[in-house]
Subunit: 341 residues, 4 copies
């Protein structure tokens, strides 16, 4: 590993005084996911604790989720966000699972069985085009977290944004896919999709819209809507641990997400109580009512575009790849609350 | 205390199987607030743990906050939501504080000093007009949590919505006022205000708008905007414990709140990355950047209106009284994250 | 309330820098008990969160547990530790329960039904003989926490030790009795007893031993053994959340407890692996094996005795009254781990 | 990786109903250590979260601690517990640290600098002599957790005890060494040592005692005493989060530990309050008093000895190697409570 780094200031530990550690890099209560890894360090990965023994995990589904997150295998449709093929994310399983059938060589057919112990995994970082990032070494990127990281840690790992990089979400997607598979066994389905790109709300026109923005070297925001079916009525708590509060927490932890609403949301502001359809969004008083849970997340247009003079690979619409992350975080939110028990 | 209750089903404990207890009625990490009390039981109250010894607490400020939450003392302006004067919320301090000066009789001048031990307090419930609620005993209210509560607990405490009642927020306001006072000592200010009522965005017209809705026996939604100044750059965590995630969690725990956004939020969806003002809302990559933090919460129009045939006292615009609760929860969020350390 | 207090130092908040708040005054995960109240403040009490709806609570059992903790109603046997009759602990229920039958006036027959919401209660402090404590105002008591409290909080509430007082355990006993009743419904029984007083191991001789010590104005230590039956095999976690670790945590939180062991414990040190009976104490690898769980706690002789020149009421053997607290904390430990689910 | 496994029962997930997940494989609040890995799976390791940026970590100290845990490099003294040289534990750093100086090749001189992000590391499992363990596949070992694991998880990973293996403690020792280094910077020193082996209390005679036991194919228990200096007075909380409660929790999480005491402990049972030295053990009322903190842990004689007919490598006295684990857990306990802040 190439190991130069930019140590801004040896008052690092003093600068750290504002660091209010809470759960930090861990999310969830019954299932707990801990994320680790810098984007251009040795590896990114995670530990998923709380998975019961005997869960059969389809590795092909995990790979497919990683491909969607990376903008691959989108049948060309969303190729606008596709990354180079060489960046494939191979998951190395360190603990907590065993191969169910050694004979099968087909990656898509591989099945893992959970042992009931913490599932640790990593994805090695490779193919780092650090020359693109070299430029950033001495330049703050507009709208990025570079400056606050330096303030917070005293050390800014400038190579690709460090922890703030979207690459960190690959670990969430691996854990989230396991969570989705466990939830599906309980009859709980999660489906997210883009419902708006910029001002465009017709999905048939999304790809053209994004390609045009990309051609300009610019970027656009988008809204991802997620529908969860099969959550048992009674899930959630009435006061602080409201179901919508946990979902909002999980979504607002995704990079670039600037807002969350559910049911009638912000869009219902113009209606009166008597005529409003009172769209509960599947949650009433903090507790699931048994119907589909519907929420939305808005993602901002990224500021670090070619048009703004920032080199490196960038998405014209981060909401495209965020779809997979929204599903993953929704799944980790629900398993974290104990839905697989 | 009147003690009849509606025990729906003696399979209560079985019905409870979906109860996924997490922190339940507690919020915060460094300061922890635990809320208790049914709206028409003996008392509501709370325990605020983590307050350092020696904090001087102005009781007058707590009373003023309670009055605003109750729609009292609004100088007539927001009288549209005012409750009867007899419902005054007298706080009884059980532990954790001592009176600083016994001589002063003026409630507004009273000062308490924290002992460093848990601050427990209660507000007794009185003046219950249970006849209004008697009607509800056998009727689910539209858009209310009555049905999910019965599913969840097997017992529906029909008298005023039990825990789901807005009355529970009085405890949050007491704790939140203490938190605001502690934060102000550290130079952190919190200010929330109504910025939209229904389709109206001119504050000068809000009162008229609400009175008209109320005259119709109807209700309207509203948007509360909150600005926090003085949060040190570096506050927050980059991955899951993002500052905006904690704020969203705290806000989505308020009854009737259907959405949260910050900075450019949902409103910024139409802008391109190159031209967007990239309004960070004071948070970058999950971490405060030192500027004012600005977020918004949307509150739905309540469904249980006279027009919908529901008796009892109801607000034409719950967002009016929510202003105080938004401030309280923002304060508890920040002290919960350790901002007073 | 008499409100003078001893504010050592107005650098109180600075002195607080060593305050490492964790869960602080709360214990447990699935059931969470939060304790509040200073020994000679207005009241002590607590909030017990996580109790499912529909649990029938026998108030007579709670009263009996409080009596044992206070050294009352011991059929004369352990009267050596008895407190004055005037100090009876009347529990005032603030929330979370409703009386099952109003007609019955007999305290011992009263039944409460849980609502699934937080159970808050208080016991008012009365009959404070503050003249005994006045002496302590300017004297540190040997072996007491007075000095560290002053260092920690900057404020020393000298009246009876503040939070450090044994009185705080009354709240634990109320919550613990509810927990014991819920566990018993699941077939889990908890029984603690004195097995050693000073060097005496014959229970028939304990009372005489203690009376002799008391007559000398002195004090002695004791060992409490607790047996838990009916814990399902498989309870506990193999690494950090070992069952014995949680039990040890709960026991070491009791004032005066200087050690914890289980199974073969410290006493098995002289045996070899081949001949040792390998007394598992009901726990293997951190997990219950289905047999009775047996552990012990040692309580020190209190240092603040008449012989040492310290006035006020003191126990010759705090282990006598600790028996009830050991049972309460064992019950809260198990409900905290989710045993009633 | 060899991947056969023993799937006892496909009712695995049902068997799991007693699994009461709490923090599970994570310990600590301000610094959080998550452990992963089965003893004879691919790797064991951990994630240490909360370490501030800029901490300089001496890798040589970590290696030395791992050697002591493995019974290596004991200068012959404790060679009785030494493992084969081929079992060296090479740490692979995945994230959270960077090499300070690439030039130096000497392992002992290597220095790592923390980045403020989660430190993830692994130690690959190699040199597995699975033939020794093959025997165990169909035999429960006396005094081991094999049976409860099968009950709990439905899957018993028989190869070396899975998570229950002492090998899991290597991860604790790596994290604990980092914690010790951070604590030492704050002037806090931790030193553990054997003070009793079987009935022997003279350290000069320990090695001979153990060799004799080993020659018999038998095992003996031992007591480890740990002294912590430099903990600021005021550390700890007065009620549940007592310092001794956290230390007891950490120690009782070590395999084979059957008891914990501090200060006068169990040994002080025969003394009277007036004459007892009232050895506080450095903690008063749950809070550090500024003096040295002294506690002890008793370790049982392992039951799986050659004399009992159990093959495989076993220690005649697990307390020897536990010394290092006691230090590691003490350090993780203190950093977990926030002592490095």
């Amino acid at each position: 590993m190439q190991v130069s780094f930019f140590l801004c200031n040896f008052a690092a530990q003093n600068a750290c005084k504002h660091t209010k550690h809470l759960e930090m890099n861990t999310i969830g209560s019954k299932w707990r996911f801990t994320s680790f890894g810098e984007s251009h360090g040795k590896a990114i990965g995670g530990v998923l604790d709380g998975v019961p023994a005997g869960l059969v995990i389809n590795y092909g589904l995990i790979r497919a989720a990683l491909d969607r997150r990376a903008g691959r295998n989108q049948k060309g449709k969303m190729g606008v966000s596709a990354r180079a093929a060489g960046e494939e994310d191979e998951v190395e399983w360190l603990s907590g699972v065993m191969e169910r059938d050694q004979g099968t060589k087909d990656q898509e057919q591989r099945e893992l069985v959970s042992l009931g112990t913490p599932i640790a995994f990593l994805i090695r970082n490779k193919n780092c085009r650090s020359e693109d990032y070299e430029y950033l070494k001495h330049h703050y990127r507009p709208g990025h977290a570079d400056r606050v990281y330096e303030i917070k840690y005293g050390i800014r790992d400038w190579r690709g944004g460090g922890r703030a990089s979207a690459r960190e979400t690959a670990g969430r997607v691996v854990a989230g896919s396991i969570a989705k598979q466990a939830l599906l066994e309980k009859g709980i389905g999660i489906h997210a999709e883009l419902i708006q790109v910029g001002t465009e709300t017709d999905p048939a026109l999304f790809e053209g819209y994004i390609r045009a923005i990309q051609a300009e070297g610019d970027s656009t925001g988008g809204i991802v809507q997620c529908t969860i079916t099969g959550v048992p009525a009674g899930t959630g708590e009435p006061i602080f641990d409201k179901l919508q509060a946990h979902l909002a927490f999980a979504m607002m932890s995704i990079n670039g997400c600037k807002g969350f609403d559910y049911g009638s949301g912000f869009g219902g502001i113009g209606e009166k109580g008597s005529t409003a359809n009172q769209d509960s969004g599947g949650i009433s008083g903090g507790i699931a009512d048994g119907g589909p849970i519907v929420f939305r997340c808005v993602f901002k247009p990224t500021a670090s575009t070619p048009k703004a003079g920032v080199k490196g690979r960038h998405d014209a619409c981060i909401a495209v790849r965020a779809v997979e992350v929204v599903e993953a975080m929704a799944a980790l939110c629900l398993t974290g609350m104990g839905l697989t028990k």
